[in-house]
Symmetry: D2
Subunit: 409 residues, 4 copies
């Protein structure tokens, strides 16, 4: 353990990572650099400086990464209409690669040879942090205290704090939550506590970012999103940066009770876990992006994306953002978005995101062909006969040879 | 045209297929057999007998196919969590193969050598009817009047009616709808009229099966669905047949404003079209099936299903229900459902279908492993290190050879 | 038929397209522009000028497209290790989009409003020509004489020639072949004649480009191919252009009896057909490209390519080169090839292409890790335990709940 | 280490597993049960009894599993035309699940609580053994000596043998091979030695099962394989069991220099390795199975299989034979094979497997439709126009809106 000289720690300023900061210094007898990022989690990051200093840290990084996060991670992911296992919008997964990247960049800047994080040995986040770190700096060492130490209960942790003068009220943001939570501009997640029983309904006072549909306004609200190359660039005609877009959509979505999710998911490490998520802005973006694509994307381009989406989601969920396969998929996805431009009009009401209209200069909807009225020859209905006949040919030949599709075997 | 002797016509009893029944007799100088099915469209089918007789039809088939429809078509499709283009629940698509099958079976019973239908040359339904027919009876002839005749405007159609004594008030179900509609137990669809402008919002009075979320009750309602092998067999503890299940879910869903959809979709014949759909029960079933699978299905089984779902949906949408590829996919899907048993508790409220709980004797959720509390050694966190190290190995080797995942090119 | 003013015809100079050139002028009363390309089919294209002039053609295009063909079509396709239905190297399919593109470009230059070709109504080539043409010039008209005229037998064709002074010896290249053939720098194909019986073995004297393995030299020959970004840029240390590469590999491959193929394939129009192909250079390139990728490509990048290859092959086979989905797939494929650099050494012997070695500065093969000898700690075997344990976790949980993988149902 | 009572060891009778047998007894102070299987590796298994007895083993299992191996593992795999990374026929991978299954069954019979094997911590085989074991007996313990002990060099191993009276000449089968080898009825593999340099050509005297193409007979040989439901049931008209089929094809293939392979592959544990393989019978079976499928399998069924094959191969390669996803894929594959019946005629010559003919009562090849001659109306060429027009519609609409497929971006 003596060969590690300097460690960059993903430091939230909370109790756990404060203990880690101390534990690493003590256990590895090495320097610790803290890195605290504002990813939109809704807590002040500035106080992390004083806390880190109190722990004896000399090199302290505190950064606002909200724009980078949304622009280079969230938006590219939404171009693919990405959902994991049919439900989850990957709010935690998509933040990890950015943190991993900054940990490594800071390690390179500060001459550190190791990184550390506060993720447990049961979850996906350890994988995401470490895969990213190894991919970016292959020789880096990783300290994952939760897999190493013996502070395996809250009591031992408290005893350690007392012993090392770590102020325990660090973590008070109102009452102590019974849930394990993670938040960033895309979502907030809840695990543990009563959620460990998948039959138990989440309690109303758990949710933090959204009102319940019942408590949402009785009046619907319309918003209009403007897309360029698959990304939202303006809302209701007002230009916004990526982080502004997501911030705004979180507000308006949360106000209307949009984006709550309660699922059982399959972790990469092999177990099922139950999680609740609030993703107001993301829920709006997913539906709106599909709507603008429905008008502007070629059918086979759209279907190709749909067929590859589950894989792309899995790649991100499992922590392979910094992998060749993700980059290849991204090239393909981005190539499809050149013409995904235009406006989507949405109605928000008590948990519902309702598409009320979509329009685009790049629309492939051809009213003159699609119409039920006279199309003046734009489409020759007789073409359909040959189309069907030849598409049926293989089926007709098979049937004429005695095969019945009523039964395969 | 003289070589056709007898035609089985998919006959709704409405104006269009009545004209077709007459037109075929006149044009092809052949017998017509009518086939009218109750698929849950919500209209009486019995009157079709008198109408058909008035048109001179001798062989008249009227059948209640609701149970077969849900049991053998809707339920198998929902086992795959099937959605076309991320949104559409395939309500029309899934009914066509059953009609095609009955048309052919009746043709075989009655010695008919042709079938006919009232679908236009622009849509998907002609393809679905005819692919099914050819796959089941390869030498069958198809009469598709809308691709053949010159009754291309409402005026010409009316003139034809007058000329042939076809009562025009056939089609009065209250006011004449400006929309082209199709209904069965799974959904009702709307196309045409003002919907031809994708920017225009659907009018409230278009919708027929559901109230708007705004008009839905202010009190949420909980229901509990019981699954066996991926299908719902009971609701709130009461055993129900497949058609009873869907009927009940349509009622309760419609009451709570659930299942409205407004999309632009890509037709198989190559054009985009805009459609609105009401699928109250289907919307509930999709979410509930995912919930019960989330607890009972292995991760890789679930991901394999997710990766193949878009293809399976496309196969159904395009009309290839009666094809070897659909049967192969179905074998795979059904094989996965043996353990998809248990209960899902849902909260329905103003358009929202909220999963409130799921439980199963076949649950793969292992609380003793997943817990954030002490797991008594059920899971060794140290295993994660090796897991990550080896999963990272290819990335580390690449990085050590100078490759940067920050940029592929 | 009178509204067509000028047609660009894909003109081989052979009998069939000469008849077509005349038939179009006569039938449509319009001008014909001929386009003859050297794609490496091994016949002189220059004589096409005099032949076209004799048919009264005023605008005659004769072009050497060999470099463009290999560089922009063959090489990109081989980057994906493309094979259709496990066997076919797509020799005909890949030439059609280039011809379609030139037909349309010439139509634009000459003010033509239509294109024409000599492909029959049963095959894939009509589809490939016309899809390409429509994608590049949506309003273009297409004249496909084989689908239109009544010259449906050889006798009628000969009578037409006599009647219109078209010299029939046009087509004598030695004896009249009983096969329908197509050739370009990638391959030569044979269909029809005795090949219509899939049980009949092709006759030795059918093959034109290669000797039989039996007749090939008794001495093997080694060659060394140098790759840059997935394409061959030198052979045995000598820099070559793309067309030079393929020309050389055809020669050396044909000499060693390499690249004969005899298959039954599934046409896009719905029937099975039996074809024989000679693809000496392509057969070498396929194996060599896999060899250089095996050393330089990341595992998951390679597997992603492998999973998408069948679709990419189908897209090309079916004629969708000029489609968004092909372009998206190409982006992904090309993105993977940046590091596919290095040398492959091959042994050619009597039909065999044997990989004798591969090396690369971009190699990901790490001998220090892979070695069976002492690896000095490069790889910690203990990591494997955690790797296996967590990969097995879902299986262990399932088994502990009583599920047996010995039987799914 | 004291909590293990009895271990079932996969015992080859060779030096390494003899050392392991002793080492386990000594280290874990527990009973060892040996299991030795004849999978067609070409060595006597009977001598394993005496060797095991000499090591103090009381419970000794020696079994001939050749028929089960080919019938339940090799044949099902070949129904999918399975190849890993475009080249490898999975000869080692497919034997492991059978061994894992027997290890567990014997553990259950003998009351053992652990299994052990002689695979190293760098390879795929440890994963395949252990995943299978955990899937079949979730609480089983695994002893993997190569990951645990300190006998990490040949010298230490020899010292251990001397110290424990283990006869070292156990392993003399002629000279000591410089290669790490594995053999069963499907193949023999070579790794290590000079093969660790991917640029070095394998030496001729390494190969054991096949002559070189150069040394093969100058006369080709024809054989005829008869298929039922995708499996070979007779050769040259003679009924054979699965193991007889493969034994015969290995002989005739090896005689003709067929089935040598030299590749660099990607291991599941994350490294590239170079291996040489001899798979004479498998190479013949792969080509022949594609040939019979080409005649009898529907196009879309075949393409669906092709698209999923890489995943199926990966599942087997990575060791997930006993997983729900493999079973699901197998259901789908097997469902497609009901009509894969008929004969394939092959010509074997100096390394080449040449398809000379295929025929079947279940043939979907329709000569009356495919013919270049007059088809008497079996196929209406005019149908092709509508087919192309509608398939082109989306491309034409896009082009008419100004999109050019010449450039995506």
């Amino acid at each position: 353990m003596s060969d590690i000289k300097k460690v960059v720690l993903a430091y939230s300023g909370g109790l756990d990572t404060s203990v880690i900061a101390k534990w690493i210094q003590e256990t590895y007898n090495c320097e610790v650099v803290t890195f605290t990022a504002d990813l939109g989690q809704g807590e002040e990051v500035a106080p992390a400086r004083a806390k880190a200093e109190a722990l004896g840290i000399k090199e302290i990084y505190i950064e606002d990464l909200r724009e980078e996060f949304v622009r280079d991670y969230v938006f590219p992911m939404f171009r693919a209409n990405t959902i994991y296992e049919g439900e989850y919008l990957l709010g935690t997964s998509i933040a990890r690669p950015l943190i991993a990247k900054r940990l490594i960049e800071i390690a390179n800047e500060t001459g550190a040879d190791a990184i550390s994080h506060g993720a447990t040995g049961k979850g996906n986040d350890q994988v995401r942090f470490e895969l990213g770190a190894y991919a970016l700096k292959p020789g880096v060492k990783v300290i994952a205290p939760w897999r190493e130490w013996d502070l395996t209960s809250r009591e031992k942790l408290m005893a350690y704090c007392e012993q090392h003068d770590i102020p325990v009220d660090f973590n008070k943001q109102g009452k102590k939550s019974p849930y394990s939570m993670d938040a960033n501009l895309l979502h907030i997640s809840y695990e543990g506590g009563i959620l460990e029983d998948p039959w138990a309904e989440a309690e109303e006072d758990m949710w933090r970012w959204s009102v319940s549909p019942e408590a949402a306004p009785d009046q619907p609200e319309y918003i209009e999103l403007t897309y360029e190359k698959g990304d939202i660039v303006a809302i209701d005609g007002k230009k916004m940066t990526p982080a502004e877009v997501l911030t705004y959509l979180n507000e308006v979505g949360g106000k209307h009770g949009i984006g709550r999710l309660d699922i059982v998911e399959n972790r990469y490490v092999g177990m099922k876990s139950r999680g609740c998520y609030e993703t107001p802005g993301g829920t709006i973006m997913l539906r709106a992006h599909r709507a603008i694509e429905s008008l502007t994307l070629d059918r086979e381009a759209a279907h190709l994306k749909d067929e590859l989406m589950p894989k792309y989601a899995e790649v991100i969920y499992n922590g392979y953002w910094w992998s060749p396969e993700r980059l290849m998929l991204q090239e393909m996805i981005d190539a499809s978005q050149q013409t995904v431009n235009g406006d989507v009009r949405l109605k928000l009401y008590k948990g519902n995101v309702i598409v009320a209209g979509r329009r685009s200069d790049d629309s492939l909807f051809d009213e003159s062909i699609a119409t039920f009225e006279d199309d003046a020859g734009a489409y020759d209905q007789k073409d359909a006969e040959g189309f069907i006949k030849l598409n049926a040919l293989r089926l007709r030949i098979a049937a004429s040879k005695g095969r019945s599709p009523l039964k395969l075997k």
